[in-house]
């Protein structure tokens, strides 16, 4: 089976192809890249201003399967990911029950088979996410877990300390969501002028930065390796920047909505914007973008969190946290105009893959095709019926988005989005 992609712009930070190229893929392997390929093939793909890049990876999605399939199940989630141009997703373990043993990892991997988006599950750091005993990390890693996280449940210092030490034996990736709710009580929004004038309970920035400092001390002490997920404050960015320059083995990510929106959205009490960590000030958002540019923050993910209307269309205090985003991750990222197109793509492809030890999927002759096919500049309004996810909790409905996905190659197999 020979497929040729006609007249592609190849987007890559180490791009050696300046002009548009034809790309020949033979039985899933990239066989030839040349300005003009005219040999007989089985299928020709020609699209308006076709761009290709190494396949995208959304490293944090919640697919609610098992447990809350009414909001999302693995297959609807993977279909949404495909529509978003992902060739791989990292699935959070906060399902019901939580992904805490080998058979649950295998359930996700088996159920995902036959779908063209690769499933990379995370497992819980503690047994059943109870915060008490370490889960069987070695066994889980062998079964396919790419990292260990209790998602948004705070970790006690002692547990994190033992996990950092224990995981060194087998290069397990430990993940911390830096949020301490014990000091200030439960809150929902950034502490500042908006929390004061809306009366909504706040999560001060220090709830994040204190935890980061503690975690960094533990990394220093254990000489371990830690990934921070969901950084939202300028203080957090600065702490990580310093720690990296000191040589600590840490990485970090940021959720897309924290790069786009700010606390301003809270004045309208719109629960669609209720997310954890909360949307913070404009200066926090700017610091996060700066952190992406200088490599302090390694990558961007969607934190795709499906919620049904019964949990969102209620009073703000009672609304659930979260926005869906795997399908619109690229379009949202396109709003960050201070980054070049190839920088934006790196943030959702090569960079997260490197952090979690996934194979290099750069575009080279002789490699199995792992590509996303897209157009970065088409503008199109997002309609509710275009949303593939079972849940529709996104503020983007009705907005004109920039960028369209045409399809993917994953493990050499083509999927075109109609």
């Amino acid at each position: 089976m020979k497929i040729v992609l006609k007249s592609c712009t190849i987007v890559s930070s180490k791009n050696t192809y300046k002009d548009k190229q034809d790309v020949l893929i033979n039985n899933g392997v990239i066989e030839k890249i040349a300005p003009e390929i005219n040999e007989p093939v089985d299928q020709i793909i020609e699209k308006n201003d076709l761009h290709i890049s190494s396949g995208w990876f959304d490293a944090k999605v919640n697919f609610c399967d098992p447990g809350n399939e009414i909001k999302e199940d693995l297959l609807s989630g993977l279909n949404a990911a495909l529509a978003g141009g992902m060739t791989a997703v990292g699935i959070s373990p906060n399902t019901s029950p939580a992904i805490s043993n080998k058979s649950q990892i295998e359930y996700l991997k088996m159920k995902g088979l036959g779908n063209n988006v690769s499933v990379y599950p995370f497992a819980t750091l503690t047994e059943n996410m109870e915060g008490k005993n370490l889960s069987e990390m070695y066994d889980l890693k062998n079964a396919g877990a790419i990292g260990f996280t209790d998602v948004s449940s705070p970790l006690h210092g002692g547990i994190l300390y033992r996990a950092l030490l224990y995981a060194k034996n087998f290069n397990g990736k430990i993940i911390s969501f830096p949020y301490d709710s014990s000091i200030f009580g439960e809150g929902y929004i950034h502490e500042g002028i908006t929390s004061v004038s809306t009366g909504l309970k706040a999560i001060p920035s220090i709830a994040e930065s204190m935890t980061i400092e503690r975690d960094l001390n533990l990394v220093r002490y254990t000489n371990g390796e830690l990934h921070f997920t969901g950084i939202s404050t300028k203080e957090g960015v600065e702490l990580i920047r310093k720690a990296k320059s000191e040589g600590l083995q840490i990485t970090a990510d940021v959720y897309i909505h924290n790069l786009i929106y700010t606390e301003e959205e809270m004045f309208a009490f719109d629960s669609m914007y209720k997310v954890l960590p909360p949307l913070r000030s404009a200066s926090d958002r700017d610091a996060l973008i700066e952190g992406l540019k200088d490599g302090t923050i390694d990558f961007v993910c969607s934190d795709h969190t499906p919620e049904d209307i019964e949990n969102k269309e209620v009073e703000f205090d009672q609304a659930a946290f979260g926005i869906i985003g795997v399908q619109t991750l690229f379009a949202q990222l396109n709003k960050l105009e201070s980054l070049t197109l190839s920088e934006r793509i790196d943030l959702i492809s090569s960079k997260p893959r490197r952090v979690f030890g996934l194979s290099d999927n750069s575009i080279q002759v002789g490699k199995v095709a792992n590509l996303t096919l897209f157009n970065p500049s088409i503008k199109k309004e997002l309609k509710s019926e275009d949303i593939i996810s079972k849940s529709k909790n996104t503020p983007l409905v009705g907005e004109e988005l920039t960028g369209e996905v045409y399809g993917i190659f994953n493990e050499g197999k083509l999927s075109i989005i109609e």
């Binding site: 929390s195 009366g199 009073e315 703000f316 205090d317």
Partner: protein
């Protein structure tokens, strides 16, 4: 101008200075009405009002109900424990059930900030916020400012008001700040450091933690009720210790060398925020506030009802 700029009364934040002054002028005539032998006007004979209280309240509900009845509206009351949502029925369902009985205006108290705004965006009826969690309590602020105006005159410029107590959990404080600032007064907040939000100064208010200094500065002191029910963690060791630092006593009042006006939104914890002899002194206008509450609420409901198509 004879119309408010808003369709609902969600918060003072949404009102203009002209709106507030219009409410005061209207309240002036209703205050005359409620002091006549026949305390009623027929203005809202064709209007049905539902008072929905998802949080306990005695005097606010009573004040609204009296205001509505003196405007000749038909009134229904609905009280539910704050846990009604936990019982399974959502706020929207509850309210839509009541609206199906053809109600024109809803007065709602609710424990969650933003609940009144949430409701106003989703139902057809006019909404009056009677307190939404720690957000706003606009009619309380209006009646407080109206009471100050009665004492000090219509020009608020340069008038100094201190709000004392639990600022962090107080919707009364927030609405008062917005209202007094719009009218041109200067506002200070005073209370234990644990009960003053860190960013409150960004609203343009002064912050003071010493009651005597605050009182020396002000023309009016509004002593808030300590609301233990709205605190999920302990912010000060005991009520006794609170009143040692922030309780207003006769001795303290007399030491000021000037007469200030003392207010309290009620119900008073005698001996905590305010001692009995202060509460009952002639400097205290606590009962005038209650009387004005009815007149101001009549004005608000009258002006909002004027915008309903009928």
């Amino acid at each position: 101008m004879n119309n408010l700029s808003v369709k609902h009364l969600i918060g003072i934040k949404d009102l203009t200075k002209e709106d507030i002054e219009l409410i005061f002028q209207t309240a002036d005539s209703f205050k005359q009405v409620i002091n006549r032998p026949i305390k009623k006007v027929p203005s809202l004979r064709d209007i049905t009002i539902a008072n929905l209280f998802f949080e306990n309240s005695t005097r606010t509900r009573l004040s609204f109900e009296l205001a509505e009845k003196r405007l000749s509206a038909d009134v229904v009351n609905f009280s539910a424990a704050s846990s009604s949502v936990k019982k399974g029925e959502t706020l929207i369902d509850t309210v839509n059930n009541i609206l199906a009985m053809k109600v024109d205006l809803v007065v709602m108290r609710h424990p969650n900030p933003g609940a009144a705004k949430f409701l106003s965006e989703r139902i057809d009826a006019t909404v009056v916020n009677a307190g939404d969690g720690t957000h706003e309590h606009p009619t309380q602020a209006l009646l407080d400012a109206y009471s100050i105006r009665e004492q000090l005159g219509t020009d608020f410029k340069g008038k100094k008001v201190v709000i004392v107590g639990d600022i962090k959990h107080s919707r009364v404080a927030l609405s008062n700040i917005f209202c007094l600032q719009k009218l041109g007064a200067e506002v200070m907040v005073c209370g234990p450091t644990t009960l003053i939000p860190k960013h409150i100064h960004e609203l343009g208010v002064k912050v003071e933690h010493n009651l005597k200094k605050a009182l020396e500065w002000c023309d009016v002191a509004n002593m808030l009720r300590i609301q233990l029910e709205r605190q999920d963690i302990q912010f000060f060791p005991s009520l006794r210790e609170y009143s040692m630092q922030f309780g207003l006593t006769k001795e303290l009042l007399d030491s000021l060398g000037k007469e200030i006006i003392v207010m309290h939104p009620g119900p008073i914890n005698r001996g905590v925020e305010i001692s009995s002899d202060v509460a009952d002194s002639k400097q205290s206008i606590i009962l005038q506030q209650v009387e004005n509450g009815v007149a101001v609420r009549m004005a608000v409901i009258y002006l909002l009802a004027a915008q309903i198509n009928r």
